[in-house]
Amino acid sequence: MKPFTMMRAIAAAMPQANIDTDQVIPARLMRRPRTTPEGYAPYLFHDMRRIAGDVLDPAFPLNAPINNGAAIIAARRNFGCGSSREAAVYALVDSGIRCVIAPSHGDIFSANSVNNGLLPARVDEAQMETLLGLLERGGVEVEVDLQECKIKVGNRQFDFQIDPVWRTKLLKGWDDIDMTRRFAEDITAFTAADAAKRPWARLPGDDELRSSSPQT
């Protein structure tokens, strides 16, 4: 994965709380393959950014021409709550979004974000209101520095938080699988000891089953 250190881009303000992943990408679009060049970009906020039928809502921040090329989203608390669909993160990154700033994010959304090089930056609620105020007019450039955990808008500066494990992973562009392979011996040792400690944890094969008429 490409390391994330610093970025500078237009930030679009979406001043709502609890924007769930069903809004980021509706479930009915998730059966599409992601192999086309545009990936899941056409599905980002698909229903939320439309008024009726296929008419784009001019008031939706990412539809406004002034926010063209926005690579940051700023929102209120609990962005990405709900469904675990990583497709929500695909829709964001395929659209060029690399950072979502909010007072909090859904737990699964945060993990999915970091696995795709998208930074979920946490800014405390009061500071977030100030930041959203600065972004309101649209087209505002924002600098996000992951090394320093700072967000800069003009001459204003905000601190953000991110779990240190995730910060390191983004900074170094680490791949979890490569990391895990280094612990192969620990895994083997664990499974050997565990089989003795928790013999009941194994899953029998279908051919070992006794009962064929289970109860509900």
């Binding site: 059966r31 699988i177 392979r181 895994i187 289970p214 509900t216």
Partner: protein, 468 residues
């Protein structure tokens, strides 16, 4: 002299028994006992293929078709090519990687969060993972169960492990006795209303207290299922006699002496007295009333006897804006009595509320009555479906004017094409009332199965306790 060890909670014990190693930066590598995969796992499988890797433990991986399977006309060939591809991909991945598969025609097929516990694949003391946020359901057995995204799915496929940071612990204690007619769903909606949809972010929840202890396993599954609706990735209940009796004799559960040994281990998982929790929340079970949602977030829950909130009376600006927006979407007016909300349709199904106990509760209301609106009943598993048919519940539903469908996620996520028309309003036993969740422009009111049945008979939301 031995030093006494510090008291541990249920979660602490599950964590300790699954940590393989801990990195200096605080991330821990966790062993995964059960990995369930559904049609949506194709992204994860594609990553495995891209790396030319194998599935590390196909014996601990189980594939089940639930999200895209038809509930109507399952015997006929599927016609939508995108849905066909979703089903075919799962079957191809299961075949190519040597994973056991329960396809839509298997007698044990169903929603994995119903099937896993029902077959005894999910057991107390296990770590259970799926790329589905309602995996929290399995926590009802005293398992550490949580949903993950596709990248993490690929990691579990390739290594049977997952990097995790230790979550904070929250204990939610519900004491006292639930009043007659009050269910685990009312308890869950009340808790989410109190905590908010972000209240559980970063936490693992242990549900405890006498009202939780008195819940059946089905009720505990409903409660744990909705943990994610307050932001908590997992919810759990300590194993007790109810748990042990539920697991005993199930096809994949240990048998005989092995079961007795396991049961001893499982009972020892209960939180020690004085175990530490970062947050504790207490509720009086006796005060919980029939609860429904009126808005577009699961935290928008209120007693059915209440009134739709007024954005003008909400002091918090963000909340006030949400109420205004939700009322507009839901087609409701501020102050309107909730019991006057008329419905167009109902849905009884999903991993939240489609177990046999749920179907019995709904059927008890429908017996000898007609539904004023059309609706679909989809059992949580094919085994539940057959059981309900043996008990004659299917006839009660169809005589009331409802459709009796096959088992799957159906109209909870509407991935299989079962959905409402734009603007249609449903009383639903599901878990999410998000905008568009049951189809573009759909309006969802969440409630218990008996409350959905009562709403169907009355044609509007109503307190189930008015039915005798």
């Amino acid at each position: 002299m031995t030093r006494s060890s510090p008291p541990l909670g249920l979660f602490d014990k599950l964590w300790n028994s699954h940590v393989i190693t801990e990195r200096e930066d605080g991330a821990s590598l966790i062993w995964v006992d059960r990995h369930y995969v559904q049609e949506g796992a194709f992204h994860g499988f594609n990553m495995v293929r891209a790396r030319k890797e194998k599935v590390a433990r196909p014996d601990l991986t189980v594939a089940i078709a639930d999200h895209y399977v038809p509930t109507r006309g399952r015997d006929k060939p599927m016609t939508n090519p995108e849905m066909v591809r979703m089903i075919d991909q799962l079957e191809a991945n299961a075949r190519d990687f040597g994973i056991r598969l329960y396809d839509m025609h298997h007698p044990w097929q169903g929603i994995i969060h119903v099937v896993g516990p029902e077959l005894g694949m999910t057991l107390p003391g296990l770590v259970v993972i799926e790329g589905d946020s309602h995996t929290s359901t399995h926590g009802a057995l005293g398992a550490w169960a949580f949903g993950i995204g596709a990248s993490e799915v690929s990691h579990v496929l390739m290594t049977q492990t997952l990097w995790q940071k230790r979550p904070k612990r929250m204990r939610i204690e519900v004491n006292g006795a639930l009043a007659p007619g009050i269910t685990a769903k009312d308890m869950a909606l009340t808790i989410i209303g109190k905590l908010g949809v972000g209240g559980g972010v970063g936490y693992c929840i242990e549900y405890a207290g006498s009202a939780v202890r008195r819940l059946s396993m089905e009720g505990r599954m409903t409660l744990c299922n909705m943990s994610i609706e307050c932001g908590a990735r997992c919810g759990m209940v300590a194993p007790d006699a109810t748990t042990i009796e539920y697991v005993r004799g199930r096809p994949f559960a240990p048998q005989g002496a092995a079961f007795d040994r396991a049961a001893e281990d499982w009972l020892a998982l209960a939180s020690d007295r004085d175990a530490a929790f970062e947050r504790t929340v207490s509720l009086d079970g006796g005060e919980i009333v029939p609860t429904v949602t009126w808005g577009t977030s699961p935290e928008d829950s209120l007693p059915v006897s209440g009134n739709v909130p007024d954005p003008a009376r909400e002091p918090d600006a963000t909340r006030s804006e949400h109420i205004r927006d939700a009322l507009d979407y839901m087609g409701l007016r501020a102050g309107q009595p909730i019991s006057e909300i008329a419905i167009d349709s109902i849905f009884i199904g999903s991993c939240t509320n489609a177990r046999i106990e749920d179907l019995r509760a709904a059927a008890a209301i429908f017996k000898g009555r007609k539904s004023k609106v059309p609706g679909l009943v989809s059992a949580g598993s094919t085994l539940v479906q057959r059981q309900a048919e043996q008990e004659g519940l299917d006839r009660i539903f169809t005589e009331a004017g409802l459709e009796w469908g096959a088992s799957g996620c159906s109209m909870c996520a509407s991935t299989n094409g079962d959905m409402l028309q734009p603007g249609q309003r449903a009383a639903s036993t599901t878990n999410r009332n998000f905008k568009g969740r049951q189809g573009l422009g759909s309006r969802t009111h969440l409630m218990s199965p008996a409350m959905v049945a009562a709403a169907a008979v009355a044609g509007h939301l109503i307190d189930v306790r008015t039915f005798k």
